[in-house]
Assembly symmetry: D4
């Protein structure tokens, strides 16, 4: 049984969206990943979203490009937290279209939007949501944050060694 659902509008979004899966893998958080197109499979989207709670998902991550309706439509059909990942697809207008059609949801139906192509951050945000009441995950997130710091310190050292004024 998966705690997180990762859906995307098209399989061409997989190279971006798989970063969310990888992060959840790293934290041993179970997920289910599939393709659900708001425009090409609207009925499938309906069924997925309406049964999401029964499927025991706790968080949904939805990525889409262009006129990206998937995250918002799913959010309108469930009360689970939905994380939206705007994707800069080909023929997208520099990503503005997917950002705005995910972010600018009307009052009543929020989507937790992350950065353009920010699927990794979607994975981390899902973990933070689970971690807000799951101490194990919370600890792992603290460890992850500490690791990031160390990596930066190593890089800082490298830069300092290379260049000296």
């Amino acid at each position: 049984m998966a705690r997180v659902a990762i859906i995307m509008g098209s399989d061409s979004d997989l190279p971006i969206m798989s970063s969310a899966a990888e992060f959840l893998d790293d934290l041993s958080i179970s997920y289910h990943m599939t393709v659900v197109s708001a425009h090409r499979t609207p009925e499938r989207m309906f069924e997925f979203a309406q049964s999401a709670k029964k499927s025991k998902y706790e968080v949904i991550i939805a990525g889409a490009g262009g006129a990206a309706h998937l995250p918002g439509m799913v959010a309108s059909l469930t009360t689970l937290p939905v994380i939206g990942v705007p994707i800069k697809s080909s023929n997208s207008i520099d990503g503005w279209d997917s950002i705005l059609s995910i972010l600018q949801m009307p009052n009543g139906i929020p989507v937790a939007t992350v950065a353009l192509n920010g699927a990794k951050n979607a994975g981390i945000l899902a973990a933070r949501i689970l971690g807000s009441h799951d101490k194990e995950i919370s600890k792992k997130l603290t460890r992850y944050q500490r690791k990031m710091k160390k990596t930066v310190l190593l890089k800082a050292k490298k830069v300092e060694d290379t260049k000296k004024g």
Copy 2:
């Protein structure tokens, strides 16, 4: 029985969307106008769109603001031509959000997008679509275009009379 359906995401869109109705009234084209919210009444939207053909509509006009998913979602659930009207609602980002989330539909599901707040043009476009095989409407459109010309000529006269170099 109405030939055109005019739907909008919120009753606050009515002051804009009624221009479409007025134009159809002028050309004696029957229409049905109501509120269908993609995000607050997704099931209603599904039913509306899936039964649109059976309801004998020939064209659908859908107006929405912000992350405007209504026109695109309706288009994904019917094969009728769907005209999208981006609306500059309060808290919209200058209308860019509604324009891009209506216009930038993926391959397979087109929405015939008109100008920001361009509900009147949506009405005219609906008439043009009907007029492509309905001679009566086609003639009325020709008359309408002639009338526009006359109005411009009168205004041109007025400007010429006012200012002389």
Copy 3:
């Protein structure tokens, strides 16, 4: 005799615009495709647009880049429905110029605008317009939509098989 006219501002638009033709081919809808430049051959554009009805076209698809005046000017010279395809040409400003100069038509003269480089959707929209009173085409569109669904389901399967949380 062609039911749809596909025109473009320059032969450099052909790689994009041919997607419209291909879709119409797939649905066995007749079309005539040529180059009509609003700025380099204004008289030709006038003649084309003014005789479009007599030529028995039912829908016009017009693609153009940059300051894209072709769709709007043609729309002002006929009462047929005109579908505009904004094209991201070289030296275009990310496509914004062609989008805005096609979309933002004044009241009275609508252009049915599709996504940037969205020629395929222009073809589908033309078919939807014809299909609104032509049952044969309507059926083909339903079949096309069903096929899209199947393709997505296959891809969904593939993604699900690849990645397991």
Copy 4:
């Protein structure tokens, strides 16, 4: 003890941010609301964020305008889920500055961004996050969504009665 913290960069953000508080009030979810400025009180921000978990907050809502660093900086100092509300302050460039400086967080530190001035949706998103493991809140959210539907249906009725084609 409050489950949600609502912070804002300036007291001038209160008219917007209070919508988040009102929604939480409606659902009887406890919260603490105060002003924390990333730029004018950086130490206060540090202390707030670093002690947020100990303070037993489960979600943080942070609103800010212009170069809005508050949500992202708080997110970097905790592992709790942080919801960012971009605010269109005076001298803001149409809200683009606050949207982009909240949304475009680098990999590692996500902020759950909602629409421009979307404080109400921030409140709802906080409730959804709590509701993902709190059945009481989950039920309330379902009731809220049902209420929204009813309101739309009433408005739809009104619009249908007013205008008849």
Copy 5:
């Protein structure tokens, strides 16, 4: 006989466009001002542009808002220099639509674009064009430039007197 033609897409553009006329009046340059709509009176636009040279105009100033096709279409039908004035009309998207549809002309057909609502500068540019071979006008322009300097110096004095550090 007028040396400059001032045309505009709609009489609602007159409050802006009259600044061009006023400047030409100040320099005693003759002009003819009228309304020519590219979209509502395309034939009139054709006739105007094709006969502009025979009408002995030396420069054409054309103002338009939204999808502003007038300056570019006129330029395609004459070899006279055409000055385009983008106008920020209601429902315009902050003026971007008119700027881009006037400025971004394809190779072969230039439009001399001035600032948004910059009709006065269009008048001055027309005078500069005439002045490039008409010494009388050239002298007047030099005098005008000197007058501007004096005005600035007076204002500088005022500001210096008001505020002292």
Copy 6:
């Protein structure tokens, strides 16, 4: 003695700006082309602009990228018509910076702005300005316009032959 001056902010603009020179060459219009940097050689720019009339130039073409001050500053130091060419240099923000800093001149000092990288059109516009009182050039421009038409007709033929619906 040259009738047109072509200046550019940097020699890296030459590949773009040389299109202006080529067009003038084609029409046998004399020009002088050089580098004048507003920011790196401000005194040189002053001298150039202030002596432009005495140098018998009739039109000035100025190209620049980024914060492009050259066209506007030259226009402030002469009464000759100045044509500005916005150039999309590296590190430019998609050309918006050069477009806006050339186009948005304050009242009193116009710059005749052409499209992004539109140096060829700058050459044609210069020829149109000269042609407004020089019949020889006017005739050449008419011939050029006729040639463009023929080229389009040939291409139209080609497209028609390739694709048949």
Copy 7:
């Protein structure tokens, strides 16, 4: 003798620019404030900038709107640090024009750009520059920063008292 020069392109910029003066007044830093227009008084601008060092100015603050060339041109004529204030004037395109024409200076000639209408911050930045080697000013800045903190804390208290979850 003034340590800071505050110049602006037009006296209409005074309501914005006076905030810079007020801050310098508060810190008892001497300044000279006047109008210098790059486009209407280019010679005055040259003289001002070339003699700025001799005038013993240590920092220059320059505010301008639209195609804002003043800060960049002054920076090209001196080696003093120049602070640019983009001003959102009427007919400006939401301030984008002044921001980009001040910010996007080419390599070699920097302008220290502050926020749109950010004249107060320009004053503070000037003080920071002086304070980097003037201990008295440095102390005053520390005091100013402390005062800001206190103001925020008071406001935080107020917000906390008003709203309780």
Copy 8:
């Protein structure tokens, strides 16, 4: 002991930021360059900024991409002048995100923003700030400006020799 600190949010910013170091090297101005991430090492950023004055830095240069909080946060923790370099990182939205999140600082906390990727100009601006009270550096800057002029003149010569009208 270094007079200038050059910090960057990530070591991937080094290829851009090293231009600042190179310019300071050319002028023999001492600097310290390292990586400080606002989001990954917030404590390190705090310590760096709060001890910057004691470390005897006179100017800080901070470069960052995306939601670039580093320059503004450092500016809030010191009274030294802080120069911000917006960096166009991968997944940045054409650099708009970093520009706006550095530039649009609220009143009280200025950041001296330079052009996108404008690290060289950041180095020059730092030198100008030091040069405002350090005659040696001031002289070097004058020499640098003279050298730039010469380079332009040489290039002008080259362009003039190549092309003759």
